[in-house]
Amino acid sequence: MYHKRKFDKRYLIIIVVVVLAILLVILSLVLKKDRDLSLPEKIVKDSGTFVVNILSTPVNFIKEKVRESKEKNQIYNDYKELDKQKKSINRVKAENNDLKSEVKKLKEELKLDTILSDKIFTHATIINRNIDYWYEEVTIDKGKKKGLEKGMVVINSKGVIGTISKVSGAYSTVKLLSNENMRDKISVKISTGDNYVYGLISGYNTKNNTYTVEGISENKEISKGAEVVTTGMGGLFPSGLLIGKVSKVTTDNFDLSKVAVVKSAVNFDEIDYVSVLKRKDSK
Protein backbone atom coordinates (compact mmCIF):
# COMPACT_ATOMS: atom_id res chain seq x y z
CA MET A 1 0.00 0.00 0.00
CA TYR A 2 1.43 3.36 -0.99
CA HIS A 3 1.32 6.08 1.64
CA LYS A 4 1.89 9.62 0.50
CA ARG A 5 4.58 11.10 2.68
CA LYS A 6 3.35 14.11 4.62
CA PHE A 7 5.44 17.26 4.46
CA ASP A 8 6.86 17.96 7.89
CA LYS A 9 5.95 21.48 9.06
CA ARG A 10 9.29 21.77 10.83
CA TYR A 11 11.04 21.78 7.46
CA LEU A 12 8.81 24.59 6.32
CA ILE A 13 9.80 26.68 9.36
CA ILE A 14 13.50 25.97 8.70
CA ILE A 15 13.12 26.95 5.04
CA VAL A 16 11.33 30.19 5.97
CA VAL A 17 14.00 31.09 8.53
CA VAL A 18 16.84 30.37 6.06
CA VAL A 19 15.17 32.41 3.28
CA LEU A 20 14.56 35.29 5.68
CA ALA A 21 18.18 35.21 6.87
CA ILE A 22 19.48 35.25 3.29
CA LEU A 23 17.13 38.11 2.46
CA LEU A 24 18.36 40.13 5.42
CA VAL A 25 21.98 39.60 4.40
CA ILE A 26 21.24 40.68 0.82
CA LEU A 27 19.32 43.73 2.00
CA SER A 28 21.99 44.82 4.46
CA LEU A 29 24.46 44.75 1.54
CA VAL A 30 22.27 46.66 -0.92
CA LEU A 31 21.03 49.17 1.64
CA LYS A 32 24.54 50.48 2.22
CA LYS A 33 24.10 54.16 1.38
CA ASP A 34 27.57 54.63 -0.07
CA ARG A 35 27.53 51.69 -2.49
CA ASP A 36 28.13 52.43 -6.19
CA LEU A 37 25.39 51.77 -8.72
CA SER A 38 26.06 48.90 -11.09
CA LEU A 39 25.97 49.50 -14.87
CA PRO A 40 22.48 47.99 -15.42
CA GLU A 41 21.19 50.02 -12.46
CA LYS A 42 22.68 53.19 -13.96
CA ILE A 43 21.08 52.52 -17.36
CA VAL A 44 17.64 51.74 -15.92
CA LYS A 45 17.81 54.69 -13.51
CA ASP A 46 18.86 57.08 -16.30
CA SER A 47 16.15 55.99 -18.73
CA GLY A 48 13.43 55.70 -16.04
CA THR A 49 14.22 59.07 -14.54
CA PHE A 50 14.28 60.59 -18.04
CA VAL A 51 10.72 59.37 -18.72
CA VAL A 52 9.47 60.51 -15.29
CA ASN A 53 11.15 63.87 -15.86
CA ILE A 54 9.43 64.40 -19.22
CA LEU A 55 6.01 63.47 -17.82
CA SER A 56 6.53 65.75 -14.81
CA THR A 57 7.25 68.76 -17.03
CA PRO A 58 3.65 70.10 -17.33
CA VAL A 59 3.06 69.65 -13.57
CA ASN A 60 6.36 71.31 -12.78
CA PHE A 61 5.46 74.18 -15.13
CA ILE A 62 2.29 74.92 -13.16
CA LYS A 63 4.13 74.51 -9.88
CA GLU A 64 6.79 76.91 -11.14
CA LYS A 65 4.20 79.55 -12.10
CA VAL A 66 2.61 79.39 -8.65
CA ARG A 67 6.02 79.69 -7.06
CA GLU A 68 6.92 82.63 -9.29
CA SER A 69 3.89 84.60 -8.20
CA LYS A 70 4.74 83.92 -4.53
CA GLU A 71 8.34 84.93 -5.17
CA LYS A 72 7.24 88.21 -6.77
CA ASN A 73 5.62 89.23 -3.50
CA GLN A 74 8.70 88.11 -1.61
CA ILE A 75 10.98 90.03 -3.99
CA TYR A 76 9.04 93.22 -3.40
CA ASN A 77 9.47 92.83 0.36
CA ASP A 78 13.15 92.04 -0.12
CA TYR A 79 13.54 95.09 -2.34
CA LYS A 80 12.20 97.35 0.39
CA GLU A 81 14.59 95.72 2.87
CA LEU A 82 17.55 96.04 0.49
CA ASP A 83 16.72 99.65 -0.22
CA LYS A 84 17.33 100.33 3.45
CA GLN A 85 20.65 98.47 3.39
CA LYS A 86 21.86 100.18 0.19
CA LYS A 87 23.81 102.77 2.09
CA SER A 88 26.26 100.24 3.54
CA ILE A 89 26.95 98.45 0.23
CA ASN A 90 29.81 100.72 -0.90
CA ARG A 91 31.59 100.20 2.39
CA VAL A 92 31.19 96.38 2.17
CA LYS A 93 32.35 96.42 -1.47
CA ALA A 94 35.49 98.30 -0.54
CA GLU A 95 36.16 95.86 2.30
CA ASN A 96 35.57 92.91 0.00
CA ASN A 97 37.98 94.22 -2.64
CA ASP A 98 40.53 94.87 0.04
CA LEU A 99 40.19 91.33 1.41
CA LYS A 100 40.36 89.81 -2.08
CA SER A 101 43.60 91.57 -2.88
CA GLU A 102 44.95 90.58 0.54
CA VAL A 103 44.10 86.90 -0.08
CA LYS A 104 45.71 87.10 -3.52
CA LYS A 105 48.88 88.58 -2.07
CA LEU A 106 49.02 85.97 0.69
CA LYS A 107 48.52 83.16 -1.83
CA GLU A 108 51.39 84.53 -3.91
CA GLU A 109 53.49 84.92 -0.79
CA LEU A 110 52.82 81.33 0.30
CA LYS A 111 52.94 79.98 -3.27
CA LEU A 112 49.49 78.40 -2.89
CA ASP A 113 47.50 77.35 -5.97
CA THR A 114 44.28 76.88 -4.05
CA ILE A 115 42.83 77.72 -0.67
CA LEU A 116 40.04 76.04 1.28
CA SER A 117 37.36 78.44 0.07
CA ASP A 118 38.09 77.99 -3.67
CA LYS A 119 35.21 76.32 -5.45
CA ILE A 120 33.69 75.74 -8.89
CA PHE A 121 29.90 75.60 -9.43
CA THR A 122 27.64 73.43 -11.61
CA HIS A 123 23.93 74.23 -11.45
CA ALA A 124 21.26 71.52 -11.36
CA THR A 125 17.55 70.99 -10.83
CA ILE A 126 15.96 68.47 -8.48
CA ILE A 127 13.87 66.15 -10.60
CA ASN A 128 12.91 63.37 -8.25
CA ARG A 129 12.29 63.13 -4.53
CA ASN A 130 10.65 60.06 -3.08
CA ILE A 131 8.25 60.64 -0.23
CA ASP A 132 9.67 57.71 1.77
CA TYR A 133 13.20 59.11 1.51
CA TRP A 134 12.24 62.80 1.76
CA TYR A 135 14.90 63.73 4.29
CA GLU A 136 17.39 61.15 3.00
CA GLU A 137 18.11 61.89 -0.65
CA VAL A 138 17.07 63.66 -3.86
CA THR A 139 17.85 63.07 -7.53
CA ILE A 140 19.31 65.91 -9.63
CA ASP A 141 19.46 66.26 -13.41
CA LYS A 142 23.25 66.31 -13.79
CA GLY A 143 25.55 63.31 -13.74
CA LYS A 144 28.90 61.97 -14.79
CA LYS A 145 28.58 63.58 -18.24
CA LYS A 146 28.71 67.02 -16.58
CA GLY A 147 31.75 66.04 -14.55
CA LEU A 148 29.93 65.25 -11.32
CA GLU A 149 31.50 62.75 -8.96
CA LYS A 150 30.63 60.97 -5.76
CA GLY A 151 31.34 63.10 -2.69
CA MET A 152 30.88 66.52 -4.31
CA VAL A 153 29.12 69.13 -2.20
CA VAL A 154 25.64 70.37 -3.10
CA ILE A 155 24.31 73.76 -1.98
CA ASN A 156 21.45 76.11 -2.78
CA SER A 157 21.10 79.87 -2.38
CA LYS A 158 20.55 79.47 1.37
CA GLY A 159 23.32 77.06 2.36
CA VAL A 160 24.67 73.50 2.28
CA ILE A 161 22.27 70.71 1.30
CA GLY A 162 24.41 67.59 1.17
CA THR A 163 26.83 65.57 -0.90
CA ILE A 164 26.54 63.42 -3.99
CA SER A 165 26.24 59.78 -2.99
CA LYS A 166 25.56 58.04 -6.32
CA VAL A 167 26.28 59.08 -9.90
CA SER A 168 24.91 57.72 -13.16
CA GLY A 169 25.44 59.09 -16.69
CA ALA A 170 22.88 61.89 -16.63
CA TYR A 171 21.62 61.94 -13.04
CA SER A 172 22.99 61.92 -9.51
CA THR A 173 21.64 61.12 -6.08
CA VAL A 174 22.31 63.66 -3.34
CA LYS A 175 22.54 62.46 0.24
CA LEU A 176 20.99 65.27 2.27
CA LEU A 177 22.40 66.71 5.47
CA SER A 178 18.92 66.21 6.91
CA ASN A 179 19.50 62.47 6.68
CA GLU A 180 18.90 61.39 10.29
CA ASN A 181 21.42 58.65 9.88
CA MET A 182 24.19 61.10 9.05
CA ARG A 183 27.37 59.21 9.79
CA ASP A 184 29.82 61.58 8.12
CA LYS A 185 30.44 64.14 10.82
CA ILE A 186 30.97 67.61 9.38
CA SER A 187 33.42 70.08 10.83
CA VAL A 188 31.92 73.54 11.44
CA LYS A 189 32.90 76.80 13.08
CA ILE A 190 30.66 79.14 15.04
CA SER A 191 31.27 82.85 14.97
CA THR A 192 31.88 84.41 18.39
CA GLY A 193 32.48 87.96 17.33
CA ASP A 194 36.07 88.25 16.13
CA ASN A 195 36.91 84.57 16.65
CA TYR A 196 35.46 81.16 15.97
CA VAL A 197 34.81 78.05 18.04
CA TYR A 198 34.93 74.68 16.30
CA GLY A 199 32.60 71.70 16.51
CA LEU A 200 31.11 68.75 14.62
CA ILE A 201 27.60 68.31 13.25
CA SER A 202 26.32 65.08 14.76
CA GLY A 203 22.64 65.00 13.89
CA TYR A 204 19.57 66.60 12.41
CA ASN A 205 16.07 67.05 13.78
CA THR A 206 13.41 66.93 11.05
CA LYS A 207 10.67 68.39 13.23
CA ASN A 208 12.52 71.60 14.10
CA ASN A 209 14.85 71.74 11.06
CA THR A 210 17.85 71.99 13.40
CA TYR A 211 21.33 70.46 13.53
CA THR A 212 23.14 69.41 16.67
CA VAL A 213 26.75 70.61 16.87
CA GLU A 214 28.85 68.71 19.42
CA GLY A 215 32.44 68.73 20.58
CA ILE A 216 32.67 72.46 21.30
CA SER A 217 35.37 72.36 23.91
CA GLU A 218 36.34 76.01 24.08
CA ASN A 219 34.70 77.85 26.90
CA LYS A 220 33.70 80.89 24.90
CA GLU A 221 30.32 82.54 24.96
CA ILE A 222 28.20 81.58 21.96
CA SER A 223 25.43 84.01 21.29
CA LYS A 224 22.02 83.10 19.91
CA GLY A 225 21.91 83.87 16.19
CA ALA A 226 25.66 83.31 15.65
CA GLU A 227 26.43 82.08 12.14
CA VAL A 228 27.64 78.49 11.67
CA VAL A 229 29.78 77.78 8.60
CA THR A 230 31.89 74.89 7.31
CA THR A 231 35.58 74.92 8.20
CA GLY A 232 36.96 73.37 5.00
CA MET A 233 38.72 70.75 7.08
CA GLY A 234 38.17 67.10 6.22
CA GLY A 235 38.51 67.69 2.50
CA LEU A 236 34.82 67.30 1.62
CA PHE A 237 33.30 70.72 2.29
CA PRO A 238 35.04 73.95 1.28
CA SER A 239 35.20 76.55 4.02
CA GLY A 240 32.67 79.32 4.56
CA LEU A 241 29.50 77.51 3.46
CA LEU A 242 26.58 78.59 5.60
CA ILE A 243 24.99 75.80 7.65
CA GLY A 244 22.65 77.89 9.80
CA LYS A 245 22.36 80.04 12.90
CA VAL A 246 22.63 79.07 16.56
CA SER A 247 19.22 78.85 18.21
CA LYS A 248 20.17 77.30 21.56
CA VAL A 249 23.33 76.35 23.50
CA THR A 250 23.42 73.58 26.10
CA THR A 251 26.07 71.27 27.58
CA ASP A 252 26.60 67.56 26.99
CA ASN A 253 25.59 64.82 29.46
CA PHE A 254 28.92 65.04 31.32
CA ASP A 255 28.90 68.84 31.44
CA LEU A 256 32.26 68.82 29.66
CA SER A 257 31.56 70.52 26.39
CA LYS A 258 28.95 72.72 24.83
CA VAL A 259 26.29 71.47 22.44
CA ALA A 260 24.76 73.98 20.03
CA VAL A 261 21.37 73.61 18.40
CA VAL A 262 21.64 75.23 14.98
CA LYS A 263 18.62 76.28 12.95
CA SER A 264 19.32 75.16 9.38
CA ALA A 265 19.64 77.93 6.80
CA VAL A 266 18.06 75.58 4.24
CA ASN A 267 14.41 74.58 4.35
CA PHE A 268 14.69 70.91 3.32
CA ASP A 269 11.00 70.78 2.39
CA GLU A 270 11.50 73.34 -0.37
CA ILE A 271 14.55 72.57 -2.45
CA ASP A 272 14.20 72.97 -6.22
CA TYR A 273 17.43 74.32 -7.67
CA VAL A 274 20.88 73.48 -6.42
CA SER A 275 24.55 74.05 -7.23
CA VAL A 276 27.12 71.31 -7.14
CA LEU A 277 30.57 72.48 -6.23
CA LYS A 278 34.00 71.04 -6.06
CA ARG A 279 37.20 72.29 -4.64
CA LYS A 280 39.59 73.60 -7.26
CA ASP A 281 42.22 71.16 -6.09
CA SER A 282 39.96 68.07 -6.52
CA LYS A 283 40.71 65.95 -9.54
Partner: protein, 165 residues
Amino acid sequence: MIPIVLIVSFLLDSIVSNFISINSLLNPLFTIMALIIVFPYFISHKSKKNYLITCFVTGICYDLIYTDTLVLHGFLFLLIGYIIGKLNLVLSNNYVNVAIMGLIVIIVYRLVMYAFLLVTANISFDIFTVIKSIYSSLILNMLYVSLVFLITNKISDKLKIRRAN
Protein backbone atom coordinates in the same frame (compact mmCIF):
# COMPACT_ATOMS: atom_id res chain seq x y z
CA MET B 1 -5.71 47.46 -18.56
CA ILE B 2 -3.03 45.98 -16.27
CA PRO B 3 0.00 47.81 -17.74
CA ILE B 4 -1.89 51.10 -18.02
CA VAL B 5 -2.96 51.09 -14.36
CA LEU B 6 0.51 50.07 -13.18
CA ILE B 7 2.45 52.54 -15.33
CA VAL B 8 0.15 55.50 -14.65
CA SER B 9 0.20 54.84 -10.89
CA PHE B 10 3.97 54.35 -10.95
CA LEU B 11 4.50 57.70 -12.65
CA LEU B 12 1.92 59.50 -10.54
CA ASP B 13 3.80 58.39 -7.42
CA SER B 14 6.70 60.63 -8.42
CA ILE B 15 4.71 63.47 -9.98
CA VAL B 16 2.33 63.88 -7.03
CA SER B 17 5.07 63.70 -4.42
CA ASN B 18 6.72 66.68 -6.18
CA PHE B 19 4.01 69.08 -5.17
CA ILE B 20 2.63 67.62 -1.96
CA SER B 21 4.39 68.64 1.22
CA ILE B 22 6.02 65.83 3.17
CA ASN B 23 4.31 67.04 6.33
CA SER B 24 0.84 66.84 4.84
CA LEU B 25 -1.52 63.91 5.35
CA LEU B 26 -1.43 63.05 1.67
CA ASN B 27 1.57 60.80 1.06
CA PRO B 28 1.13 58.92 -2.22
CA LEU B 29 1.65 55.14 -2.48
CA PHE B 30 -0.14 54.78 -5.79
CA THR B 31 1.97 51.93 -7.15
CA ILE B 32 0.98 49.73 -4.23
CA MET B 33 -2.67 50.72 -4.65
CA ALA B 34 -2.42 49.74 -8.33
CA LEU B 35 -1.44 46.21 -7.24
CA ILE B 36 -4.84 45.91 -5.54
CA ILE B 37 -6.66 47.12 -8.65
CA VAL B 38 -4.92 44.79 -11.13
CA PHE B 39 -5.33 41.60 -9.06
CA PRO B 40 -8.82 40.61 -10.38
CA TYR B 41 -7.61 40.95 -13.98
CA PHE B 42 -4.88 38.37 -13.39
CA ILE B 43 -7.14 35.99 -11.51
CA SER B 44 -9.71 35.99 -14.32
CA HIS B 45 -6.97 34.31 -16.38
CA LYS B 46 -6.10 31.97 -13.47
CA SER B 47 -2.56 33.32 -13.34
CA LYS B 48 -1.74 34.15 -9.73
CA LYS B 49 1.88 33.26 -10.42
CA ASN B 50 2.05 35.93 -13.14
CA TYR B 51 0.51 38.40 -10.71
CA LEU B 52 3.23 37.74 -8.13
CA ILE B 53 5.93 38.06 -10.81
CA THR B 54 4.39 41.40 -11.86
CA CYS B 55 4.46 42.56 -8.22
CA PHE B 56 8.13 41.64 -7.91
CA VAL B 57 9.12 43.32 -11.19
CA THR B 58 7.17 46.47 -10.28
CA GLY B 59 9.00 46.55 -6.95
CA ILE B 60 12.37 46.21 -8.65
CA CYS B 61 11.50 49.07 -11.04
CA TYR B 62 10.43 51.16 -8.01
CA ASP B 63 13.79 50.45 -6.39
CA LEU B 64 15.80 51.23 -9.50
CA ILE B 65 14.12 54.52 -10.33
CA TYR B 66 13.02 55.95 -7.01
CA THR B 67 14.93 54.51 -4.08
CA ASP B 68 18.28 52.89 -5.10
CA THR B 69 17.57 50.20 -2.49
CA LEU B 70 17.63 47.36 -5.00
CA VAL B 71 15.40 44.34 -4.15
CA LEU B 72 13.89 45.84 -0.97
CA HIS B 73 10.69 46.92 -2.71
CA GLY B 74 10.88 43.87 -4.97
CA PHE B 75 10.35 41.64 -1.94
CA LEU B 76 7.96 44.05 -0.24
CA PHE B 77 5.72 44.22 -3.31
CA LEU B 78 5.88 40.43 -3.60
CA LEU B 79 4.72 40.12 0.01
CA ILE B 80 1.99 42.68 -0.60
CA GLY B 81 0.88 40.75 -3.71
CA TYR B 82 0.61 37.60 -1.60
CA ILE B 83 -1.42 39.44 1.07
CA ILE B 84 -3.72 40.95 -1.59
CA GLY B 85 -4.28 37.42 -2.90
CA LYS B 86 -5.28 36.21 0.57
CA LEU B 87 -7.50 39.26 1.19
CA ASN B 88 -9.32 38.66 -2.08
CA LEU B 89 -10.31 35.22 -0.81
CA VAL B 90 -12.35 36.77 2.01
CA LEU B 91 -13.32 40.16 0.55
CA SER B 92 -15.34 40.62 -2.61
CA ASN B 93 -14.47 43.43 -4.99
CA ASN B 94 -16.35 46.63 -4.29
CA TYR B 95 -15.44 50.24 -3.48
CA VAL B 96 -15.46 49.74 0.27
CA ASN B 97 -13.51 46.50 0.21
CA VAL B 98 -10.73 47.84 -2.05
CA ALA B 99 -10.39 50.77 0.36
CA ILE B 100 -10.15 48.31 3.28
CA MET B 101 -7.55 46.30 1.36
CA GLY B 102 -5.69 49.58 0.76
CA LEU B 103 -5.72 50.29 4.49
CA ILE B 104 -4.38 46.83 5.40
CA VAL B 105 -1.74 46.92 2.67
CA ILE B 106 -0.48 50.38 3.73
CA ILE B 107 -0.14 49.23 7.35
CA VAL B 108 1.69 46.03 6.36
CA TYR B 109 3.93 47.88 3.88
CA ARG B 110 4.98 50.54 6.37
CA LEU B 111 5.54 48.12 9.26
CA VAL B 112 7.54 45.61 7.22
CA MET B 113 9.58 48.29 5.46
CA TYR B 114 10.56 50.01 8.72
CA ALA B 115 11.31 46.63 10.30
CA PHE B 116 13.63 45.76 7.39
CA LEU B 117 15.32 49.16 7.49
CA LEU B 118 15.74 48.92 11.25
CA VAL B 119 17.40 45.50 11.03
CA THR B 120 19.43 45.85 7.85
CA ALA B 121 20.24 49.54 7.37
CA ASN B 122 20.74 50.43 11.04
CA ILE B 123 18.43 53.44 10.76
CA SER B 124 17.12 54.82 14.02
CA PHE B 125 13.52 56.02 14.31
CA ASP B 126 10.80 55.73 16.92
CA ILE B 127 7.40 54.08 16.72
CA PHE B 128 5.73 57.47 16.23
CA THR B 129 7.57 57.90 12.91
CA VAL B 130 6.05 54.61 11.75
CA ILE B 131 2.57 55.51 13.01
CA LYS B 132 2.78 58.94 11.37
CA SER B 133 3.90 57.40 8.08
CA ILE B 134 0.86 55.09 8.23
CA TYR B 135 -1.86 57.63 9.00
CA SER B 136 -0.38 60.23 6.66
CA SER B 137 -0.72 57.76 3.77
CA LEU B 138 -4.28 56.63 4.40
CA ILE B 139 -6.57 59.41 3.10
CA LEU B 140 -5.08 60.00 -0.35
CA ASN B 141 -4.38 56.35 -1.14
CA MET B 142 -7.76 55.01 -0.03
CA LEU B 143 -9.42 57.68 -2.17
CA TYR B 144 -7.12 56.86 -5.07
CA VAL B 145 -7.75 53.10 -4.94
CA SER B 146 -11.54 53.61 -4.82
CA LEU B 147 -11.44 56.13 -7.67
CA VAL B 148 -9.25 53.94 -9.89
CA PHE B 149 -11.49 50.96 -9.05
CA LEU B 150 -14.49 52.98 -10.25
CA ILE B 151 -12.77 54.07 -13.47
CA THR B 152 -11.36 50.63 -14.32
CA ASN B 153 -14.76 49.02 -13.61
CA LYS B 154 -16.49 51.37 -16.04
CA ILE B 155 -13.86 50.78 -18.74
CA SER B 156 -13.85 47.00 -18.22
CA ASP B 157 -17.66 46.87 -18.51
CA LYS B 158 -17.61 48.98 -21.63
CA LEU B 159 -14.79 47.08 -23.33
CA LYS B 160 -15.93 43.70 -21.91
CA ILE B 161 -12.58 42.98 -20.27
CA ARG B 162 -12.76 39.90 -18.05
CA ARG B 163 -12.04 40.22 -14.35
CA ALA B 164 -12.75 38.18 -11.21
CA ASN B 165 -15.36 39.46 -8.76
